[in-house]
Subunit: 248 residues, 2 copies
């Protein structure tokens, strides 16, 4: 049986304030928990239903010191998902090691929607981008919707939060960005390594960041289309795909 | 003052059952409501805060018979959004006129997530696709998250729900689909008109639909990427962009 305090604690990690206080976050789902448990992320606690055990014996052995078998009803109370699965881990945050960029870096200037952020991480990992650098006001990586939406890709992708204007002004690589009035994508050539900047859902890229961009790119729309913009995760993926196709 | 019955009715339209019963749905937001009000969609009711009126005089005149000014608190009760805006319309569904495809058709086989559906509609409109045809189990167009997520693109895009296997078997155009083991995108050539099929988030395209596909396309991932798939709205947009670039 799980104590009320534990349930309150795990539930509290749905909130940013508690995550920052305890430096922990929640990851849910059989596949995600199994992947994370097998990586260098550390679990503070692992809650599983009995049905989870048979197929995950080595994971269960590894986390014997902090594992707890829970009932369906307990999992429902611990979970932040509409349809709880069989495993939920409380995971320790990692310190944000800054790396010097090799290959391509995705830069996010104020992306707000956690669903978009999760999709951006997943696409960046798919296309082999080496890291993601975010403005300080970009949605938090450890938001449960980011964690679940990235489909495990957050576990291996280096993701940093920093003062973007300062960061970009120190880089020597070409800086590309998705804008509404740039060069058409089909006429853009990409360097072997580089930086790709995407902006906020409503407002795009801030002027002080845009000033540091050398290549503004526009994804062309159909002549008679009245749509004003593409979703940020969609635009990013189209450009990351173009980068990958150009440099390989 | 708005009656309790009206609030209950508008709130009920957040649920599919009530939408089907009353053949109405909710559209929110100053921009979306203004766009819809100016199109051939019909409003059953229009609720606006006083602040909305000055900038939208012709809209207010047009809907004088069904408009009601509401307080901040009333709008909060009517709204399904976390941050209600100044206008909310109850809109009549339209009958699903079937058209013969010209240009490119996007086909969705069991897409479930309303956020993905909204993004798919937005991208299809951006790239000038002429219609969207959905399997009967695809998420409902009038789901509030689809309506809000499409950023108004649902208003002009013909969207049909039908028996997909039957529909596709009657088409004479080339049928392309996003699959995990197809021909690389960069080696794919597209016909001037065609059909592009995307599948369910977890399970992809059903075997009976896949059997009707002539060209399976794969968006290549980086060599060392461990990500298993791309988000469906992301994959669709990359392919729609490729189609647009190829045929223009």
């Amino acid at each position: 049986m799980i104590s009320k305090n534990v349930i309150t604690y795990v539930q509290s990690l749905q909130q940013k304030k508690a995550r920052q206080k305890y430096q922990c976050f929640v990851a849910e789902g059989n596949k995600l928990v199994a992947e994370l448990g097998d990586s260098d992320w550390e679990f503070e606690a692992l809650y599983v239903k009995e049905s989870f055990a048979p197929a995950h014996k080595s994971l269960i052995a590894k986390y014997q010191h902090c594992i707890q078998i829970v009932s369906d009803m307990e999992m429902e109370r611990l979970s932040g998902l509409q349809t709880p699965q069989d495993a939920l881990a409380v995971v320790r945050m990692k310190t944000n090691k800054s790396t010097s960029p090799k290959g391509w870096t995705l830069v996010l200037d104020g992306v707000q929607d956690p669903g978009n952020m999760g999709t951006l991480i997943r696409s960046a990992a798919w296309f082999g981008f080496s890291q993601i650098v975010c403005s300080l006001d970009t949605v938090e990586l450890y938001n449960p919707k980011v964690i679940q939406g990235s489909m495990g890709a957050f576990a291996t992708m280096p993701i940093h939060y920093t003062d973007l204007a300062n960061y970009l002004s120190l880089q020597k690589l070409e800086i590309y960005a998705a804008v509404l009035d740039g060069k058409p994508l089909r006429k853009t050539t990409f360097s072997k390594e580089g930086i790709l900047v995407l902006g906020n859902e409503g407002n795009g890229i801030r002027p002080e960041i845009l000033r540091l961009v050398s290549n503004g790119i526009t994804i062309e729309k159909a002549k008679d289309s009245k749509v004003e913009s593409l979703n940020v995760a969609v635009a990013a993926a189209i450009l990351m795909n173009a980068v990958t196709q150009a440099i390989n």
